[in-house]
Amino acid sequence: MPVRARDLVGLGLDGHRFGLPLPSRARRQQVDEMLRAVDAGRFADERVGNLSGGEQQRVMIAHALISSPRLLLLDEPLANLDIRSAQEIISLLARVCAERQVAVLISAHEINPLLPVMDSVVYLAGGRAASGSTSEVVRSEVLSKLYGHHVDVIRVHGRILVVAGTGDGLDIPAEAGAAACSPNSGQSPAAGEAVAAEDPPLLGEQVGHGHALGHNDPASHSAAGDPPGEH
């Protein structure tokens, strides 16, 4: 992609228009402001193709938000991102979309990084669905029933985590699994893989087919989990 981050964000404003773009101070300021809002200012003049996955995602979000939408639809926005970048993108989305009064609808397989910011969820698994507020749906009983398999919902470091269950007797200490999957633990992803490796039948289900429905109400961001420090 040999266009600059700045160009791509600008095209979010008027990319559908015909004719040559006229240089405009107001447009440039708007693009700069949007780039700053997603912390993309320092690579605004880099070519998009040269950016990392997380940086590209910031530019894409700026591209989508600069036209002031009321609803943002994101399909697997965290795919191919490492856990740190994924967490940065999620907190960025929560902050920027709250500021700009944008509702966000995310479809995702990996639900854990989304839990701190989700307001409500439609959880699809095994051909069935459960919907409601995050605290109603993301519970061991609800998810276990949905999957037809034991699923633990663990609270750790003020966050909640969905972990495939150990009901078949292959005991894995819950703490080890939780630490490995925690978005802010900083552990190597290999630890997370180890959990899956010990429990092969759940490989595909470990994090489930989650469809998370977020909303722009910052007050309810912590409704799903305990506030930090209270665990």
Binding site: M1, P2, V3, R4, D7, L8, L11, G12, D14, G15, H16, R17, F18, G19, L20, P21, R42, F43, D45, E46, R47, V48, M60, H63, A64, R84, G186, Q187
Partner: protein, 303 residues
């Protein structure tokens, strides 16, 4: 002093003036359209469209019409065929291009054979393949201007939709852009650009003028708008310089019979691209600021 650069009679020669006009216009259009060809990764499609125009060019000799009409006619038809086969899907793109190119060149083989055996035109094959800037008929000028205007209009009108759909067809579609129609229009602009270059430097070499100045310009600047203008300027520069050198070469030893202008244009294009490789791409961002990663934490704790 000026005679050292411009051999006597350069500015008063009618063929030279015609070459400067048509060659310049062809290069201008090829450069501007070429920037989008390179941005969209459609260099192969551009090359294929140039190859296919051989078919129309060789047909034009049999029909007794202007070669440019033949080049442009088959080019636009081929662009439509590529779109129908599926040039817009990344996986089908090379396939569609290859099929259309193969079919076109097969017909060209037959028509070129007829050109050399059934018509009195000698050197038709050489003219079609390698161009003939100094032997153009003045009657071609209105058609050249028309094709150039059409190609430039497509690029100018669709500038932003083309740019966005070349970055991501999904983002473009999300913005309400008709990605397929825009892609087809772009292919038609490419077909017109290579047709013009086919007339001046030949069908085989047209790709050089389409891709060369554009690749050079994109090496020099990151800005899409500037790259488009720079590619057009570079194209015109190498073409005009090539015409000057070709005209001068009539005085060069040992044979004093002049070298083909197409050779000079392509040689200068390649030289320009190689020179641009010496330019280190500027890194605009200061060294990446990174918050200390997890790996840094254990060592901090150890202290």
């Amino acid at each position: 002093m000026l005679h050292l650069v411009f051999a006597p009679g350069f500015f008063t020669s009618a063929p030279v003036r015609l070459a400067l006009l048509t060659g310049g216009l062809a290069a201008l259009v090829s450069g501007a359209v070429g920037a989008f060809t390179v941005l969209r990764g459609q260099s192969y499609a551009g090359h294929a469209l140039a190859d296919i125009s051989v078919t129309g060019g060789s047909a034009s000799y049999l029909l007794g019409i202007s070669p440019l009409l033949g080049f442009a006619g088959t080019g636009v038809l081929a662009a439509g065929a590529m779109d129908m086969i599926g040039v817009r899907r990344p996986r089908g793109r090379d396939l569609a291009t290859g099929i259309v190119r193969g079919a076109g060149l097969g017909v060209a083989a037959l028509l070129l054979y007829w050109d050399t055996t059934h018509t009195s035109t000698t050197g038709a094959a050489t003219t079609i393949l390698f161009g003939s800037m100094f032997t153009l008929s003045p009657s071609v000028v209105p058609l050249v201007i028309g094709c150039a205007a059409a190609a430039l209009a497509i690029v100018a009108v669709l500038y932003r939709p083309l740019l966005l759909s070349s970055v991501s067809a999904d983002l473009a579609a999300a913005r309400g852009i008709r990605v397929r129609a825009v892609g087809l229009a772009c292919l038609i602009a490419i077909a017109l650009a290579v047709s013009l270059s086919a007339l001046t430097i030949g069908t085989i070499l047209a790709t050089a003028l389409l891709v060369g100045p554009a690749a050079t310009a994109l090496r020099i600047t990151r800005r899409p708008g500037r790259a488009t203008i720079l590619a057009a300027v570079l194209g015109v520069a190498v073409t005009w310089l090539g015409i000057v050198l070709a005209y001068d070469s009539f005085t060069w030893p040992p044979r004093h019979d002049g070298w083909p202008v197409s050779f000079f244009v392509v040689a200068l294009t390649v030289a320009g691209y190689l020179l641009a490789q010496l330019v280190r791409p500027r890194s605009v961002s200061s060294p990446r600021r990174r918050s200390p990663g997890p790996a840094a934490e254990p060592s901090a704790a150890a202290r």
